[in-house]
């Protein structure tokens, strides 16, 4: 029952995860796609349940949270699979550039340890296609950012859709 109620969030969350792999959409993934996915999850929920009078605050939060979490899990999983297949990813490709940049700004010594970790990660990915550290980082990073933007989209969606419903009722 609960799963059925929140199924739109699962669908839109998965859609974001897939879209976030496409280069053009990649950068937009969090700022625009995740909030939009939460909005559409609520929109589809209202379409499936036309009898719903208003979206409650708790429901909007739950939809936003779930969309964000689903998007984060699938996006991380797909990212890890692609990294495993290609043995590289955006982060690995940007590392030489970042390390050069830090040297340029004379911060190489300050971030020596951090770059050591990143270099181990790079080595693991290039050799085996998998790094436990990268997996932990990508899941944590996606969960943090996607859930926040999902919640934001849920709140905005609730306000917009409730307003629309009130206007239609008048």
């Amino acid at each position: 029952m609960i799963l059925k109620k929140y199924s739109p969030a699962l669908v839109t969350g998965f859609a974001v995860a897939v879209l976030s792999l496409i280069p053009v959409f990649k950068v937009l993934a969090c700022c625009f796609l995740v909030p939009a996915a939460s909005f559409f999850a609520l929109f589809f929920y209202l379409k499936i349940n036309p009898g719903t009078e208003k979206i409650k605050f708790e429901e909007a939060m739950m939809f936003g949270l779930l969309t964000g979490v689903v998007a984060a899990i699938f996006s991380s999983a797909l990212d890890l699979v692609l990294t495993y297949i290609t043995r590289t990813n955006d982060l690995i490709e940007s590392l030489p550039y970042s390390s050069k940049m830090l040297e340029e700004y004379k911060m190489g010594d300050i971030f020596k340890e951090q770059f050591k970790i990143l270099n181990i990660m790079e080595k693991d990915i290039k050799n085996t296609g998998f790094s436990l550290y990268y997996m932990f980082m990508i899941i944590l990073s996606n969960l943090l950012s996607f859930t926040f933007f999902g919640l934001l989209g849920g709140l905005a969606g609730m306000a917009i859709l409730n307003k629309k419903k009130t206007n239609n009722a008048l």
Binding site: S20, V27, Y105, M107, M137, S141, L152, N162
Partner: protein
């Protein structure tokens, strides 16, 4: 919990998130002497690379170090953060913002991108920051006014 309090806590939550977000973005600039924040550099790098191209030529350099996102993104996040504080301070004031303002703010950014790509002028970090700041402030104010509408109704 009554609706007024819930609304207030929602604003605080958004503001706090943006605060930590900005700490992450400016970790190289302001917090290079803080080992705890420095240790989070790999995580920050992974996180922000998802939001921004992080092109160093389009990044503001301050205190001898770059921010972890480009000038436009920095503008968006700082505008959102500053206005989220204002929203908390003036949460009792009834400020309503229409969608058209959000579209106008977006149009400024699109116009800037088109103009410098067509070589009307060179890429300017200041213009990128200002247009980003405008969008960020409008975006957070719009979200605030929409949420408030719900809580007031």
């Amino acid at each position: 919990m009554d609706k007024q309090k819930l609304f207030y806590f929602t604003l605080i939550f958004i503001c706090l998130f943006l605060f930590f977000w900005l700490i992450g973005i400016s970790s190289l600039v302001f917090f290079r002497d803080f080992p705890i924040i420095n240790n989070l550099l790999p995580l920050s790098k992974i996180t922000f690379s998802k939001f921004c191209h992080q092109n160093i030529n389009k990044t503001i350099i301050l205190n001898g170090a770059p921010f972890l996102v480009c000038s436009r993104c920095l503008g968006i996040y700082s505008g959102s953060f500053i206005f989220s504080i204002l929203m908390i301070i003036f949460y009792k004031k009834n400020i309503t913002l229409k969608l058209k303002w959000l579209i106008i703010a977006l149009l400024f950014i699109i116009a800037d991108i088109i103009f410098y790509n067509l070589n009307f002028y060179n890429y300017s970090k200041t213009i990128a920051f200002v247009t980003g700041f405008f969008l960020g402030s409008i975006f957070i104010s719009y979200i605030n006014s929409q949420i408030k509408n719900y809580f007031v109704q």
